[in-house]
Symmetry: C2
Subunit: 278 residues, 2 copies
């Protein structure tokens, strides 16, 4: 998906909501457990109920890999369902936090972006920056595909290394300034946690126009208003993720309706923010 | 596998060789492509031919994920074969470079260490440190299992961030000193690239007794003598990986014999180093 197509989606849906598909057998409605592929049935129901409200979906790979080949099969069915039933209607993110030496990242890129090889065909993949340029660049060789580089994450452990500083420059700022030269705002985004929304000012001073994927609104404690205040650009420039608050809104047979209601609440708030800040 | 068991394996086999199973359909002998599971057949042949020479095997996950569910199935069959046919005879490493917020890393840990959930049962997993303590700790909650934290990698991109320094301390040294407090030398190792073997002196000044997984000897250009000189401890303290030089030694029907010959060359060199340096 091209940058302009994503911006158009956001304007049309009046939403910059990304729904995280952290689908866990112990948390999904129990009546689904009797189906052949409970994780896929759960994802399908969530997607069908929220497809017009969400601009992006983000399966979290750990929640599939923990079930081995069966989990990977549920993951493949989920992205194939999105790409067939709702073609072009969402930005899809492989939340996999990958990154390795060049020839290995090349294989991870095939896994995420080449459906003839892996069965998966995401628009974007999250990548870890620790191994530097050649660990990240292979993902950028796919036209129309994106990487979303970890910059400042929303967890407590972010403090361990991401604020390690040289001459007043934190590691996460160094990651932003260095890595932004490897691609452009047409194929790179950044993960920036929402727990300290004012940090978005620092982030925006380095990457003014890049889209930011912001986790941590909701279950992880961030405020949508604060994120928009410090991080929104004229073209929105934000994808804000919510996972548990939406997908686990209820556990009864009508769970997807409840998920839609939660997603709509967030979307309404986003609609106001888009109207006032643009 | 416990630390002492690994040390005993190294002494018995007179080897600290780890063989990297970066098994690629375009590089394995072509006659295997007619089998139902070429990647597994290739791995099985390599393992059968080198099992007494190698102390560790390290499947590189990217080379399996690029084939989707079929790749994950080959991966599961490989680790199951190792754990059944050669139980207790090797240290097995899931080279997956994982790491995410706590509840997500918990799922990745299940993927690598809980065969009842995922079908995989490795002794260790490589992890990326960028997200800090809570991204790493869930892997340490499995008794007898290990994490191998990226410290100083062997690729060119290592220079981008790993040498970012504060007051004379490089990021990779900060990663070593901080993360080594999260576990012990009984459940943590570090990835340290071999391209600049003298850097091992700096690494050893921070983590004196931890095992180091050293990639980059062979195809990536490091020297085994240099690695032993700067990195070896009384208990060896090293696992040196070789992938392409061994597994792609030949492409004919007798490829596994050639792989054994290459592995034996390395093992003989290791035997001498173990004898002279201990």
């Amino acid at each position: 998906m091209k940058r302009q197509e994503l911006i158009d989606l956001i304007r049309r849906k009046k939403s910059f909501l990304c729904i995280g598909l952290d689908s866990d057998l112990t948390k999904i409605p129990q009546h689904l457990l009797t189906t052949a592929d409970p994780i896929f049935e759960f994802n399908k129901a969530i997607i069908d109920a929220t497809h017009d409200v969400a601009v992006a979906y983000k399966p979290n790979f750990a929640f599939y890999e923990c079930y081995g080949t069966k989990g990977w099969s549920s993951l493949a069915r989920t992205i194939q369902y999105l790409n067939s039933t709702y073609a072009g209607q969402h930005f899809t993110i492989a939340d996999a936090k990958r990154g390795d030496i060049g020839n290995t990242s090349q294989q991870y890129a095939r896994a995420m972006f080449d459906p003839t090889s892996s069965g998966l065909d995401f628009d974007a993949v999250t990548v870890a920056p620790y191994m530097g340029e050649d660990s990240v660049k292979p993902f950028l060789s796919y036209s129309g595909k994106w990487i979303i580089v970890l910059a400042l994450t929303s967890n407590k452990g972010a403090e361990d290394f991401q604020y390690f500083s040289n001459d007043g420059v934190n590691l996460f700022e160094k990651v932003l300034s260095t890595s932004s030269q490897w691609g452009s705002n047409e194929n790179m985004m950044y993960v920036v946690g929402a727990t300290k929304a004012e940090m978005l000012t620092q982030v925006r001073s380095v990457v003014r126009d890049h889209f930011l994927l912001v986790p941590g609104v909701g279950a992880q404690g961030g405020s949508l208003q604060e994120v928009a205040r410090y991080g929104m650009t004229k073209e929105c420039g934000l994808l804000v993720n919510s996972s548990r608050n939406i997908i686990y809104a209820a556990k009864d047979e009508d769970f997807a309706t409840k998920s839609r209601e939660e997603a709509l609440k967030v979307q309404k708030e986003m609609e106001e923010l888009l109207a006032t800040q643009q």
